[in-house]
């Protein structure tokens, strides 16, 4: 009893490191950020923190809709290539400096400098000359960004990009405070050095322990920010976060172990949030392979996979069976993905049809083939692979596994190493089908693991890139996706879902497809 009391008291002490009246949000994060430099960042964990620290031209609201941020309003030229942003007057840095158009120019140039070594620089390549600067072929001043005056920013694009505003919500589009960067160099990200313009400022950063943010009084909407302090805790082990949540040590977990979902749902009900997420889990199929080069084989392999089983049993309902490559709910895709007939059929009919296709191609149980299935180490990938191998065995396909750690796995794919079938996943950077379908363009060296080469597909993608009318563009992309599903460079298996555990005390949490939950819109109720 006594011990329990003391523990509770200590716990209360931890939870209330700030003044008792202030709200402290203990926020579980996927992992420790690799960096807090918005220009070097690449992970979701970093995005969550940077979204609280900085405010970009446009930001996400709690439901992941694009709303004005530092930019009060903007105009787009008729040809869709020139964006003129009017910045709000009350935008200030945490040290009191006004946020100017020049700060954004500075930031957008900095990310493109080769020596910055920005992992996600390519996301802003639509800006005129950005790619050339990043390659070191052009001077940063030649980039299509210009401060018309302190409060007017003009961005010129190389070509119309209907998803450009979405791109600007990404953490790579966040401004930096130029004097701090000049003064501290790479160390401008440290507590004490960092000057930010978002709802919070950086108070403390202990690697793999905690990152403490406190409310920024200079933020233009500071009076509406309810939570005074956010402590980001990195959880490499999902089960640890769950235990911490159950013990009342954190208010939310950013990811959950799939194998435990059923129990969590049973015990904690509505606190478990599973929402569609902008991502697809797929198997890339090597088109240069003799057997897999045959489209009938690929169709058969895809058809025979019982995605419902994978989704409901292996991922406990935290993934959605995929019937296309582009996940549903994506923006700029009015009619959505094309429908594929066989996904409406029963599994038995699909198996019959798959078997027929296999035999037509000259394979099948009588003439078995061996396929090497490559995946990166993970319990769930392993279970999925084993289950799929079992389904494929019906077609006379023997599976050999090749498991490596993520680094070796992706290096092998990138270096165009030999493989048959390889697991991969893709989380969209912005809500647009192009962000999925561009992966298998024949000149996409980085992502076209399948070595898919279809001029017709490439032509459609080019056509879509030039089209400014969203509905017409959607139609073209839809045709491209239909080709994708016919040729199957990737076999889509599942759509990702975001999985979070949210304390009933945490108010204002809205599930959304981007899985963004800026702390400034949240609050903690008493109790």
């Amino acid at each position: 009893m006594n011990a329990k009391f003391r523990a509770a008291a200590a716990l209360a002490l931890i939870l209330a490191a700030a003044p008792a009246s202030a709200q402290v949000y203990m926020r579980g994060n996927d992992s420790n950020p690799e960096t807090l430099d918005q220009h070097k960042t690449s992970t979701v964990a970093e995005a969550n923190i940077l979204r609280d620290l900085y405010e970009g031209l446009v930001v996400y609201d709690p439901s992941a809709q694009v709303i004005p941020g530092v930019a009060e309003s903007w105009e787009v030229s008729d040809d869709g290539t020139v964006y003129t942003f009017a910045l709000r007057d009350d935008a200030r840095w945490s040290n009191g400096d006004p946020v100017t158009a020049g700060d954004f120019v500075y930031a957008l140039r900095r990310i493109m400098l080769p020596e910055t070594g920005a992992k996600y620089a390519n996301i802003l390549y639509p800006i005129a000359n950005a790619e050339a600067v990043n390659k070191g072929e052009a001077d940063p001043t030649e980039m299509g960004v210009r401060a018309v005056d302190d409060k007017t920013l003009e961005i010129t694009l190389a070509a119309p990009t209907p998803f450009f505003l979405e791109l600007l919500t990404h953490q790579t589009g966040l401004p930096v405070h130029p004097p701090s960067v000049e003064a501290h160099g790479a160390d401008f990200v440290r507590p004490g050095n960092m000057v930010s313009n978002g709802a919070y400022t950086l108070e403390e950063n202990t690697l793999n322990d905690r990152i403490v943010l406190v409310r920024n009084p200079n933020f233009h909407d500071a009076e509406n920010v309810a939570i005074a302090q956010v402590n980001y805790l990195p959880f490499e082990d999902r089960a640890t976060c769950v235990r911490a949540w159950e013990a009342g040590e954190v208010h939310s977990c950013s990811d959950l172990p799939a194998e435990d979902i059923e129990r969590l749902r049973a015990e904690h009900g509505d606190a478990v949030h599973v929402a569609p997420y902008l991502g697809t889990y797929y198997y890339a199929v090597n088109h240069d392979d003799e057997v897999l080069g045959d489209p009938r084989v690929r169709q058969a392999l895809s058809m025979v996979i019982d995605r419902d089983f994978l989704a409901s049993e292996i991922f406990q309902g935290t993934m959605v069976p995929a019937t296309s490559f582009v996940p549903p709910g994506i923006g700029n895709y009015p009619d959505g993905s094309p429908e594929i007939d066989h996904f409406g059929m029963s599994m038995l009919d699909r198996e019959d049809q798959a078997l027929a296709l296999m035999e037509e191609a000259g394979y099948g149980p009588d003439n078995p083939v061996t396929i090497e299935l490559m995946y990166n180490t993970s319990e769930n990938h392993k279970n999925a692979a084993t289950a799929i191998a079992d389904m494929w065995s019906l077609l006379g396909v023997n599976v050999e596994y090749n498991v490596r750690d993520a680094s070796a796995h992706y290096a092998h794919l990138r270096d165009k190493g030999d493989f048959d079938v390889a697991r991969a996943g893709w989380i969209g950077d912005y809500s647009d089908p192009q962000n999925f379908l561009f992966m298998v363009e024949s000149d996409n060296d980085g992502f076209n693991y399948a070595n898919y080469n279809n001029p017709e597909y490439d032509a459609l993608m080019d056509q879509a890139a030039a089209e400014t009318d969203l509905a017409a563009r959607g139609d073209i992309l839809r045709q491209a996706e239909a080709l994708f599903m016919r040729d199957l460079p990737f076999i889509p298996l599942l759509y990702y879902s975001s999985r979070s555990l949210v304390s009933p005390r945490l108010q204002g949490w809205e599930d959304n497809i981007q899985n963004v939950h800026p702390s400034r819109f949240l609050s903690l109720s008493d109790g």
Binding site: A3, K4, A7, A8, A10, L11, I14, N32, E34, T35, L36, D37, K40, S42, P114, E115, T116, G117, A118, K119, Y120, A121, N122, N134, R190, T206, L207, N208, D209, R210, L233, P234, F235, E236, D237, A239, T240, R243, A244, E246, A247, E249, R404, D405, A406, S407, A408, H409, Y410, A411, H412, L413, R414, A424, G425, W426, I427, D445, G446, F447
Partner: protein
């Protein structure tokens, strides 16, 4: 003895050099690099990154540069934690690991010796069997099972202790137990064996024959001999604690350096792995020296010139 210690430390320098070299090249032979992640990077971006980190230079040049920097105490920038240099990362994590490891080691030594002695003094009695059974059980259950079970029981179900985290003394209790458990078991077994032998030895028998009180005999004579194997086990124990801390740090979410072994190796964070390798190698050398010196203090037969 001081001269001996100095000689040992100086002798460790070539050892360290060989270890650094071996680790450097082994790390580089492994397939994949620090920038190969779930999402492939654009070719331009990759080239920029490689240039920023000097990975585009010939390997021997990178090696020479690394050695040069290392000699000056700079372990280079981390490839993954890009805001920090490796020595900063280790400086943050090392105190945590050392605190955790030392506490666990002391607990293991204390409790292990106590249990071992109890068992030996009650040889073939119920106490003995109980100690052996518990001790063996401690060795047979991997700590990635005991750690989450401890957290589950004492934090989630009973609510007595925090489930994870670092900074508060309370938060240390469960990780230390999880870490010490297997070592308590090993040490208890070692001490038990040595104690039984010591109790049978001539000088203890003689002491008893002289009519010294049993407790004094045990404490003064038998224990002194019985603790020797436990002391010489401290080298391997420290290594085991290090391995164990990889698991414990993950399960209890602690900011120690154990995780960098695995994460660093899996992420191909070359400099971070090298840093941990160097730190651990130094640690092992120093620790072994301490153990040897301690041994000399405890066992009069051993002398170092």
């Amino acid at each position: 003895m001081l001269a001996y210690a100095l000689r040992r430390l100086l002798g460790a320098i070539p050892t360290l050099f060989i270890i650094v070299t071996a680790a450097f090249f082994m790390m580089r032979i492994a397939p994949g690099g620090p920038f190969d992640q779930e999402r492939t990077l654009e070719a331009t971006v990759m080239a920029n990154l490689n240039a920023t980190f000097g990975l585009d230079r010939p390997l021997w040049q990178q090696y020479a540069m690394y050695l040069g920097n290392l000699a000056r105490g700079d372990m280079g920038p981390s490839f993954i934690y890009r805001d920090m240099r490796v020595q900063e990362i280790l400086a943050e994590g090392l105190p945590v690991s050392v605190q955790l490891g030392l506490t666990a080691l002391i607990l293991a030594l204390g409790l292990g010796t106590l249990l071992g002695c109890l068992a030996a003094l009650r040889q073939n009695h119920a106490t003995d069997y109980a100690v052996i059974a518990v001790a063996t059980f401690g060795i047979t259950v991997p700590n990635f099972v005991t750690a989450p079970v401890l957290s589950l029981v004492f934090a989630v179900l009973l609510g007595w202790l925090p489930a994870q985290g670092w900074g508060d003394p309370q938060q240390m209790i469960l990780p230390v137990i999880a870490l010490a458990l297997p070592q308590i078991a090993v040490i208890a077994r070692l001490v038990r064996g040595a104690m039984i032998e010591a109790l049978r030895s001539d000088h203890v028998r003689t002491a008893r024959a002289y009519g010294l009180p049993a407790r004094m005999v045990v404490v003064k004579h038998a224990l002194r001999a019985a603790i020797l194997p436990a002391v010489s086990y401290m080298g391997p124990a420290a290594a085991a604690l290090l391995t164990g801390s990889i698991v414990v740090e993950q399960v209890f979410n602690l900011p120690g350096i154990g995780r960098y072994f695995v994460q660093g190796a899996l992420n191909r964070d070359y400099t971070l792995v090298m840093g941990t390798v160097v730190i651990v190698a130094v640690f092992v050398v120093v620790f072994n020296l301490i153990v040897d010196l301690l041994y000399a203090v405890l066992d009069p037969r051993v002398r170092y010139e």
